[in-house]
C-alpha cells in the first residue's frame, strides 16, 4: 500500500510543488490549507508522515504540531516542519513543541525527498 503524507501548507504554489515532488516517488499526498483542516485530516486519514508549514492562517504550525503530538491516535506519526524561516529561534521553538525534524524550504528538492523517504522507511 502506498505511503500517505499529509501536507499542511497555505500557499497553493508551494503545496503544488511539494505535492508533485512527493507524488513522483509513488507516495500519496493529501493537502490541508489551514491548521484546523490539517488537524481534522490527520485524525481522519492517519497519514504516515505529516509535513507542516509554520505560518498558516488561523492556528499556526507550532500549535498544530503541539496538538498533533498530544493526539494518542497519532502517537507514532512523525511531524516535520517545512518552513522558509531559518532563524534559530523558530527552529528551537519547533523542536520544543515536539517537531521531529525541521526542513528549511529551499530550491533543492532532492534533500526534502531524501528525508521524506528516510522517515517513511523507503530506500
Amino acid at each position: 500500500m502506498a505511503k500517505k503524507v499529509l501536507l499542511i501548507e497555505d500557499s497553493p504554489i508551494d503545496a503544488a510543488i511539494v505535492k508533485e515532488l512527493v507524488e513522483k516517488e509513488g507516495i500519496e499526498v493529501e493537502v490541508a490549507m489551514t491548521g484546523e483542516e490539517g488537524l481534522e485530516k490527520a485524525r481522519r486519514i492517519k497519514p504516515d508522515l505529516i509535513l507542516s508549514d509554520l505560518v498558516l492562517p488561523g492556528i499556526d504550525g507550532f500549535e498544530v504540531c503541539a496538538q498533533l503530538k498530544k493526539e494518542v491516535s497519532l502517537s507514532g506519526t512523525m511531524v516535520v516542519i517545512l518552513s522558509v524561516k531559518d532563524n534559530p529561534g523558530e527552529i528551537t521553538k519547533a523542536f520544543s513543541v515536539g517537531a521531529d525534524d525541521y526542513i528549511i524550504k529551499a530550491p533543492m528538492p532532492e534533500f526534502l525527498i531524501k528525508k521524506i523517504k528516510l522517515y517513511l522507511g523507503m530506500k
Binding site: I13, D14, K105
Partner: protein, 703 residues
C-alpha cells in the same frame, strides 16, 4: 531526479502578483493608519508567503527583497516603531521591483534592476527598520496600536472562504463558452423541430397511440433540455464574470503616486467594487479608466490653495463607482474639481474648425460636451501635455465603443465633472433585429439601431451623388444593403414603401434600406473563420433555429464606407467602392495608451491615418489584416517587444518592404545597433518625436 519547475512558473507569477496587490493595498492603508497592528500582521504574512514560494522556485532576488520586508514588518510589529511617511515610497518601490523581477531578465534589466540596485534597495530597507531612523517612543506607539481600528484589515483579493477554488485558463473558459453557445443553437433547432413535428401530427387521425406518446415524451425531454441549457449558459457566462475590484484595486496606488507627483491632495473613493463584469471587458477598461482618473488629477482637482479659495476642502475627492443598471454596467469617474467650461469648448471647437459657428449656437450643452470626444479636438498646447483634457478622449470613446459601450460627461463649472461609461454585461449575446435583403437575412445589433422607419421612393434624394433621406429634419446617407453585398434586389421598383433601419455609430447616422424586417432575436455571435475574417461590413455570424446561417452586420464599418462610397441610382448592380483618397496609413505599436495617443495626434495632424496596436503580437495581427505604408514601434512592450516585431516583419516576404521606425526613450548605442540590425529603417528617440526630424524621415521613407 530532475525537477521541472517550469510548469509552476505561471502559477507562481500569478500568485505572487496577488500577494503584491494585497501588500500594495495594505501599505496604502498603513500609510493612513500607521499604528494598525492588524495591518502589520497581514503585511508580514504576505511578504512571508512571497519569500517562501520565491525560495522554492529559485527566484533569489525576490526572496532577498521579500525577506527584508518580512523582517521589517515583524520588527515594526514586535519592537513597536512607526514606519515614517517618508519611508513608504521605498516600500512601494520594493513591491514594484518584485513585480519587475517576475518578468524576464532582459525586461527587468532594461528597467534598471541590477545587482547594485538590488543591494542598495535591500540595504535601505534594512536601515529603515534597524532603528537608525528615529521613530516614536515605543510605549506611545504600543498605546496607539491598541487603539487601531479593526476595520483596517485588508479584504482578500479572492474570497478564500470555505469554497475551494481551482485555477482555469481563460482560453478554456472561452472554449467552454463557445461550446455552450453551440449547444444553445442546437437547442433552438431542436425546439423548432419538436414543435413542427407536434404541429404536423397533431391534426392527423392516422397517428397511433404509441407515436403520440413518443411525441409527448419528446416534448418533455425538449423542455428539460431547454431548462438545463439555459442554466449551463448562465453558469458559463458567470464564470467569465469577475469582480471589478480586479480592475479597481490597481488604481489607489497609481493615484497616490500621481497625486504626490502633482503636489495635490487627493482622496480616491471606490464604490461598488463587488460589481461583476465580463473579464474581456474588464481587461479592456483599464486604460480608459486610468486615463479618466489621470485627467481628474491633472485637470479636475485644483491645487489645494485654489480649492480653499473656493471654499472647498483642501483635499480633492475622486470617486470611482461601478454598479449594474438593467443589463448594463455603469462605471463612473467623478471629481469635485474645477469642472469643464462649456463656453470654452464652444470656442475651441469653432476655432479648430470642427464645427461651424451657426451649428454650435443651436447645440445644447450635453451635445457640446460630446465634442470633447471628437478626434482632433485637442488644442496645440495640449499635444505636449500628455493627459490634457480633450487629448485622447476620442481614443477612450473608441475603446468603449468597441466594447459596445457608451460614454457621457456631465460637468458643472466649479463643482466638478462626472464621466459615465455604460457597458454591456457581456459581449457574447447580442440582441438583434433580423432583416431581409434579397434572399439573405442579416442581424443588426439592437444597440446600434436608433429607429426603424418606412420611406417611399420619392423621399430618397440624391445629395452630391449619394443617396440620402431626411429623418426628423436631418439628412442622413441611405445605404441599400443589397448593394453593399452585391445581392440582386427583389422587385424593388414595384414597392411603395421600403423599410429603413436608422443606425448610429458615435454621432454618425445612416439609413439601411432593406426588403423586410423579421423581428428581434437574441443571438449568440460567433466570429467567422479565418478565410472570412477580412470581410468588411460583417462582424460575425450566427446559426438560427431553422439551421440557416446569417451574418451580423458591422455597423461602424458600414457607416464609414457610406461616407466615402458613391452610391449609384437605384439599379440592380452592386455599389462600388471608389478609390479612397491616397492617404498613407501608419501602424503604431505602443503599449502605453497616453504615449500612443500623443504620437497618433502628431502623425494625424501631419496628415497620416494611424492605427494603434498595443503590443508586438497585436501589431503582427494588424499587419496581416490591413495594408500599411509604414510601421512605427516602441521597444518595450508586453508579449512581443519592438526588436522581435521588427525581426519578424523583416523575415516575412510579404512585409519586409514595409519601412519600420523604432522609437525609444533610451539613448544607448547598443539599442540603436540592435534595432538597425533587426532591420529597422530608422531609429529615433521619443523626445525627437515632435520635431521636424520625424516628418523628414517619414517623407524620405514613404513620401
Amino acid at each position: 531526479m530532475p525537477f521541472d519547475k517550469s510548469k509552476f512558473i505561471g502559477q507562481f507569477k500569478s500568485e505572487t502578483r496577488e500577494h503584491i496587490q494585497k501588500l500594495n493595498q495594505g501599505l496604502l492603508k498603513l500609510e493612513r493608519a500607521p499604528a494598525s497592528k492588524e495591518l502589520l500582521e497581514v503585511l508580514m504574512r504576505e511578504a512571508h508567503t512571497i519569500k517562501g514560494s520565491a525560495t522554492m522556485m529559485g527566484y533569489e532576488r525576490i526572496t532577498d527583497i521579500a525577506h527584508r520586508m518580512e523582517d521589517g514588518f515583524e520588527k515594526a510589529l514586535k519592537q513597536g516603531f512607526m514606519i515614517e511617511k517618508a519611508h513608504f515610497d521605498l516600500l512601494f518601490e520594493c513591491l514594484d521591483t518584485i513585480e519587475g523581477l517576475l518578468e524576464d531578465k532582459v525586461t527587468w534589466e532594461a528597467k534598471g534592476i541590477n545587482r547594485p540596485y538590488l543591494e542598495g534597495l535591500c540595504g535601505s530597507v534594512e536601515r529603515i527598520f534597524s532603528g537608525e531612523v528615529p521613530g516614536k517612543q515605543k510605549k506611545e506607539v504600543m498605546k496607539e496600536r491598541g487603539k487601531a481600528k479593526k476595520e483596517d484589515t485588508i479584504p482578500p483579493v479572492i474570497s478564500s472562504a470555505a469554497v475551494e477554488t481551482i485555477r482555469v485558463g481563460t482560453d478554456r473558459l472561452n472554449k467552454l463558452m463557445n461550446l455552450s453557445g453551440e449547444l444553445v443553437i442546437s437547442k433552438i433547432r431542436l425546439n423548432e423541430l419538436v414543435r413542427s413535428l407536434a404541429e404536423s401530427t397533431g391534426y392527423r387521425e392516422d397517428i397511433d397511440k404509441n407515436t403520440t406518446a413518443l411525441i409527448r415524451e419528446l416534448q418533455k425531454a425538449d423542455e428539460n433540455i431547454d431548462f438545463s441549457t439555459s442554466n449551463i449558459q448562465d453558469e458559463v457566462m458567470n464564470l467569465r464574470m469577475i469582480s471589478v475590484s480586479y480592475l479597481f484595486n490597481t488604481f489607489p496606488r497609481a493615484m497616490r503616486d500621481l497625486a504626490r507627483e502633482k503636489g495635490k491632495d487627493i482622496e480616491l473613493e471606490i464604490r461598488g467594487e463587488d460589481t461583476r463584469l465580463d473579464k474581456t471587458i474588464i481587461d479592456e477598461m483599464k486604460d480608459p479608466v486610468m486615463h479618466l482618473l489621470r485627467n481628474a488629477v491633472d485637470h479636475g482637482i485644483e491645487e489645494p490653495g485654489v480649492r480653499e479659495g473656493r471654499n472647498k476642502p483642501a483635499s480633492g475627492k475622486i470617486i470611482l463607482h461601478a454598479y449594474q443598471k438593467g443589463s448594463q454596467i455603469i462605471i463612473e469617474v467623478s471629481d469635485d474639481g474645477a469642472g469643464i467650461d462649456v463656453n470654452k469648448i464652444r470656442e475651441q471647437a469653432v476655432n479648430k474648425g470642427i464645427i461651424s459657428g451657426e451649428r454650435i449656437a443651436e447645440m445644447a450643452d450635453e451635445q457640446i460636451f460630446q465634442l470633447l470626444f471628437t478626434p482632433g479636438f485637442s488644442t496645440k498646447e495640449h499635444v505636449t501635455d500628455v493627459s490634457g483634457r480633450g487629448v485622447g478622449l476620442d481614443v477612450v470613446r473608441e475603446r468603449i465603443a468597441k466594447l459596445k459601450g457608451m460614454i457621457e460627461v456631465e460637468s458643472k463649472p466649479g463643482a466638478g465633472t462626472r464621466f459615465i461609461m455604460k457597458l454591456p454585461l457581456t459581449l457574447a449575446i447580442t440582441e438583434s433585429l433580423l432583416v431581409v435583403s434579397g434572399r439573405e437575412t442579416f442581424a443588426v445589433p439592437i444597440d446600434a439601431i436608433v429607429e426603424t422607419i418606412r420611406v417611399t421612393p420619392k423621399e430618397i434624394k440624391t445629395v452630391e451623388t449619394k443617396e440620402a433621406i431626411t429623418v426628423r429634419g436631418h439628412i442622413i446617407p441611405l445605404i441599400r444593403l443589397n448593394e453593399i453585398f452585391g445581392i440582386s434586389p427583389r422587385g424593388i421598383s414595384e414597392k411603395k414603401f421600403f423599410p429603413v433601419v436608422v443606425v448610429q455609430y458615435v454621432e454618425k447616422r445612416a439609413g439601411l434600406l432593406v426588403d423586410r424586417l423579421l423581428g428581434r432575436q437574441e443571438i449568440i455571435g460567433k466570429s467567422l473563420g479565418k478565410p472570412l475574417k477580412k470581410l468588411k461590413n460583417i462582424a460575425g455570424g450566427t446559426i438560427l433555429g431553422d439551421g440557416s446561417i446569417i451574418f451580423i452586420l458591422n455597423i461602424p464599418s458600414i457607416i464609414e464606407s457610406a461616407e466615402g462610397a458613391v452610391v449609384k441610382k437605384p439599379g440592380p448592380e452592386p455599389a462600388r467602392h471608389p478609390a479612397k483618397k491616397k492617404q498613407k496609413t501608419i501602424l503604431l505599436a505602443e503599449d502605453v495608451l497616453s504615449t500612443a495617443m500623443l504620437e497618433k495626434n502628431i502623425l494625424e495632424s501631419a496628415g497620416f491615418s494611424v492605427v494603434v496596436a498595443r503590443d508586438g503580437d497585436e501589431a503582427l495581427k494588424r499587419v496581416s489584416q490591413e495594408k500599411f505604408d509604414l510601421i512605427i514601434t516602441d521597444i518595450l512592450m508586453p508579449k512581443m517587444d519592438g526588436f522581435e516585431l521588427t525581426e519578424r516583419l523583416k523575415k516575412d516576404k510579404l512585409y519586409k518592404d514595409i519601412p519600420v521606425i523604432i522609437v525609444t526613450t533610451r539613448e544607448g548605442d547598443a539599442d540603436k545597433r540592435r534595432g538597425l540590425k533587426a532591420g529597422a529603417e530608422a531609429y529615433i528617440l521619443k523626445r525627437e518625436f515632435t520635431s521636424e526630424g520625424l516628418l523628414d524621415i517619414l517623407e524620405r521613407l514613404i513620401g
